[in-house]
Each structure stands twice: as structure tokens, then as C-alpha cells.
Symmetry: C2
Subunit: 190 residues, 2 copies
């Protein structure tokens, strides 16, 4: 199964935008890395912006949903699921070193392009709601402190994004796990 030009473009666009940001990522270097000529790009997408919007839907969001997967599995507690999720994130070197790609792009685009920022915000809301559902379960289950689940889930994601955006030299798996340990103590019920 050979990769199509469209697929190559979306893959490289994800990498370049993750690394350099929307403004920093140039179409020329994306094209070169993907080994795709300009005409093909503008055949598949009407503009750089449209290509990035497609990349968000087809690459960024699926990846981020995989990181922030708060589905209840097996017979585990809500707290177990959170700990498992955070541990899984800590193993992703790119995530630890360069932060959450959704956070990066959303943060950059806030004052630059509303459509792109909006696409990111919608997914933030989605993740937040998934986590809220898990928190609700944990509260009824008795492993988590009671409180406003929407506020709490936003708090958890925002602080997690904060941990992931530490300066490069100070960002490590160990550091992230320590940070999240602090975080969990603030919502656990003893």
C-alpha cells in the first residue's frame, strides 16, 4: 500500500507545524520533505491554511485522542485510568520534549487565525468532556474528591499541558511523572 501524495503532505505538515509552528512552517520545506511538487499540494488543498485544517482533523486530533484516552477499561478505577494515561504520556518522548501538539497550535493561533484556533478549541472541549465523564465516575466510585467535574477536568488538562511545555532542558519523563503526582494528590480522596 503506497502512501498517496495527500497522505505524505499531511504527515509532513504535522511534523513541521509541530516543530516550527504554523508561521514557522513553510510550504516549500513541507513539499521538499514530502517529495511532492507544488501543483499536487494545490490540487488537494486550496491553501496552506486548508491543508493545516485537514491535518488537524486527520492527524493531530487522532493522535491527541490517543494520548488523552480516558475510556474505562477492564474493572479498573477512574484513578487507575488517569494514572495509566499519564504514564503512557510520559513514555512518549516527543510529547515530553515538545509539548502537546494541540496545545502548541492552539496557543500560537489564538491571535493569528480564528478558524485554526477554533478547530483546536473544539477538540480541547471534547477531551475535557471525556475526562469529565471519567471524573464523574470516580466521584461516584469514591476514589476522587467531589467537585465540579467540568472545572476539574479543565484544570487537569491545563496543568498537564503546562507540565508538557516546560523548557526543553528541564523536560523529562521523570519530571513529568513527579509533576503529575503532585497533580493527582490535589484530586484524590483519602
Amino acid at each position: 500500500m503506497k502512501k498517496t501524495s495527500r497522505d505524505k503532505l499531511l504527515d509532513v505538515t504535522f511534523e513541521e507545524v509541530y516543530r516550527l509552528g504554523y508561521c514557522g512552517a513553510g510550504t516549500a520545506s513541507i513539499l521538499k520533505k514530502a517529495g511532492v511538487p507544488k501543483g499536487s499540494m494545490y490540487h488537494h488543498f486550496s491553501s496552506k491554511k486548508e491543508m493545516v485544517l485537514a491535518m488537524i482533523e486527520e492527524r493531530l486530533i487522532p493522535k491527541v485522542r490517543d494520548f488523552f484516552d480516558f475510556e474505562m477499561k477492564k474493572e479498573s478505577s477512574a484513578l487507575d485510568v488517569m494514572e495509566y494515561t499519564l504514564k503512557k504520556m510520559s513514555k512518549n518522548k516527543m510529547l515530553i520534549a515538545h509539548g502537546c501538539p494541540l496545545h502548541r497550535l492552539m496557543f500560537e493561533m489564538g491571535s493569528i487565525d480564528k478558524d485554526i484556533a477554533q478547530a483546536c478549541e473544539v477538540e480541547f472541549q471534547n477531551i475535557s468532556q471525556n475526562l469529565a465523564r471519567l471524573l464523574n465516575f470516580g466521584m461516584r466510585e469514591g476514589t476522587l474528591q467531589k467537585g465540579n467535574v467540568e472545572e476539574m477536568s479543565g484544570f487537569i488538562i491545563a496543568s498537564t499541558w503546562g507540565f508538557l511545555s516546560r523548557p526543553l532542558g528541564l523536560s523529562s519523563k521523570e519530571q513529568f511523572l513527579k509533576d503529575t503526582e503532585f497533580l493527582l494528590t490535589s484530586i484524590k480522596k483519602y
Copy 2:
């Protein structure tokens, strides 16, 4: 006391880089907003990068030190100082809406320019150390949970930056205060 061209340039550079990022901020629009011709800019600075580095030292860092001012004043506890600092931050509309300018720039430049990223990281370390001193005091004083002060101060700043980088529509003074309330419960001693 008239503002010099250099001062105007640094002021506008701060605003533009804060709003649009380093890559997004163009010299042309900085020059136009400052009402300064190009020749003057390149008389005072050898490049855009050097101008931004000067802006970091002379504008960004002083501002950020004012936000994250953890000096013990009066006869208050370490916890009081933290609460006061967070409250003061919550009143700054730009900070709430667009995040911490130091965080923004550091995050963007990580993979783009090491010198600029480094300048930001050094200041992060500095703020972190100031907070660590306060935490140390709070621990001896008995208002804060004992633990590794360096880890804890990094955790506090990282999560605070996270709160400040929420999506625009969901970022408010109230939300920030709720977030920081959660945060404080994780380090307070009861």
C-alpha cells in the same frame, strides 16, 4: 521626556511578539507601529533577533518579574504571598487572555532559535529559584507540605503557565482563580 526610537521599538516589539510570536511578528509592521524608519532599527540593533533579545532583557523579563514576585513582605506567611501573587496575576487581563509572554516565547522558540529559547529558560530558572526560596520559608514556617522545593516550584510555575494558556474563550479571571485554588490545595498543609 520623549521616548527614544530604541524605546519605541522595544515597546512595539514586545507587543507584536507577545501577540503573534517571533515568526509571526514582522519587522515592517513593528517599524510602522513604532513610527520608526528601518535605518534607525538597524542602527540600534544588528538584526531582528538581536532586537528581540534586547526586548527580552529590557521589557519581557522586568514585566514577568513583576508578575512572579515572590518577595516576602510585611509579616505575612509564604502561603499569603503566593495567594496574593496569584490574585494579582488574575487581575492582569492580558496575562489571562494571552498567557505568560515568557512562556509563549520560550515554547515557540524551543525548536527554532536556541539563543532566544535560552534567554527565556534562564529567566524561568530565576523565577523558579525565587519561588523555591519562598516555599522553603513556608515549609519551615509550617504552612506548606514538606518536599523537594525545586521540584515543587517548577510544578507550580508549569501548572500556572498551563492555566494561563487555556483557549481564549475559556480563559477568565474566575477560571484562573479556581484553577489556582485546586493548585494550592495540593501544596498546603492542613
